[in-house]
Symmetry: C3
Subunit: 197 residues, 3 copies
């Protein structure tokens, strides 16, 4: 499984979560397209803003087209099919989280000569930024700020990049570990409460 | 009616909608200024961020001054006068929507050599971006995501620009068509529901 | 008391207000870090976007590290100690407001050859921008838009910079005046209602 496949699974998953939030908030079909695009590209937009890379580098035709097709399918197919898809949602969403965070860490590593602090910030905002804007626009408490697992996993993605991992095999291994931790956290209901609060 | 006149009617209408949302949300007079400026310039700011043009190009003195005067008048005049103005609000707001979307499409057309996908995205975010930020800050469901007409009209504005329309006469014609469709949509209560949902 | 000390008191106060909002909104410890960083750097990020300065200039290691330590302390210490700190909160927050607004006005003054309109906008968004994003993400009505004192003080900071004040002594004097006005406004419950509304 190559890196580019993971990247597209990530974009598709993220745009789909935007669409589902829009459907739940009873937005119109334009809301589905808008929240889908915002979730898929919002994290990258904030990251590029933070690390000083022009946003125009985000606009690959293949990515925009993939998001557009994904959202059109979600609008057209009956709701109960979507419910079936949802069971797979967290699995694909974990792939998205990992591929976005890895991308953020790698871009920051290039731009700031492997500065760990900024790599973690870039991985964090690329991984959870799109969902943060999505939830804020839809008037919901951002999922990424209520559950700690998303953010911890983005930080976990930044560290191996800092150590120099970059081959497709190594990146795929990180994605698999992220999926395993995320699924275990959901299954065993892991929580990390605040001390003394 | 020249293009620059439409542009200023757009800026005035958009800043006024920001002011009205702030008054309804019971913000202080600072909230009126802040939401007014955010609604008038927010869409252009997001668009410039997306298409990689410096935000500094937005800051014309005449536009900032016009918004400032508009908001000061709204703060000073009695509320019942504003109610009278409101009947005209949707009319002016349609001019704003069209002039903002056209501007977005034209700027994206220059920056990306007439790429339709990005022109539609730029027209959409210029046209509805300011209102999106305004409603999110005021804690309301964004109007542009609940009703489909705004977004459809922005896309409708991008297409003639793609075909090369650029003379003041052609642009004014688009604005008139947008006003006609918007007013008809409101009068006849056109809706475009999601299929199968 | 030197300028750099005021700047760090500002960053610490602002990140702490972000952490307290996150704790009240029952976010996880990741939410505390995220809102803390967003409040401390969000205003500067919007300002740099507006005045066309790369965001990368915000990332000094000392500032990032200071925010990180502040937030970690807030997460680790018991809540009742925080309550004690809170009594000092508004005092430190006033220092933050003044130092952020002054910085915004000075940066805009350099970038736009002392243009008062843009200096006021930059002072305003640097001073209240972080809190605006913080409150919007946490789903609260933004404090800066409900109370007029914050924004008035940021404008008050821009004017002496416009007149050419720049020495540490002059800047410290502005900070002291801002603290005095803010504390008086809170103590005597000064309000500036909208006319005719």
């Amino acid at each position: 499984m190559s890196w580019i496949v993971l990247h597209f699974i990530g974009i598709i998953s993220y745009s789909a979560t935007g669409a589902f939030v829009a459907l739940e908030a009873r937005f119109s079909f334009i809301g589905v397209y808008a929240l889908g695009f915002i979730t898929a590209f919002g994290g990258g937009l904030i990251r590029n803003l933070i690390i000083g890379v022009p946003a125009t580098e985000l606009w690959e035709h293949s990515a925009i087209f993939t998001v557009f097709i994904t959202l059109t399918i979600i609008i057209l197919i009956p709701l109960k099919w979507i419910d079936h898809w949802r069971r797979w949602g967290l699995f694909f969403d974990s792939i998205g989280l990992a591929s976005f965070a890895l991308q953020g860490a790698m871009l920051a590593s290039e731009a700031f000569s492997n500065d760990l602090g900024l790599m973690i910030l870039a991985a964090l905002f690329t991984g959870v930024g799109g969902g943060l804007i999505r939830d804020t626009i839809a008037g919901r408490k951002p999922l990424a700020l209520k559950e700690e697992i998303h953010a911890i996993l983005t930080i976990l993605c930044a560290i191996p990049i800092w150590f120099g991992w970059s081959s497709p095999l190594e990146l795929t291994l990180i994605v698999l570990i992220v999926i395993a931790i995320r699924m275990s956290a959901i299954h065993y209901k892991w929580r990390l409460p605040l001390p003394c609060h």
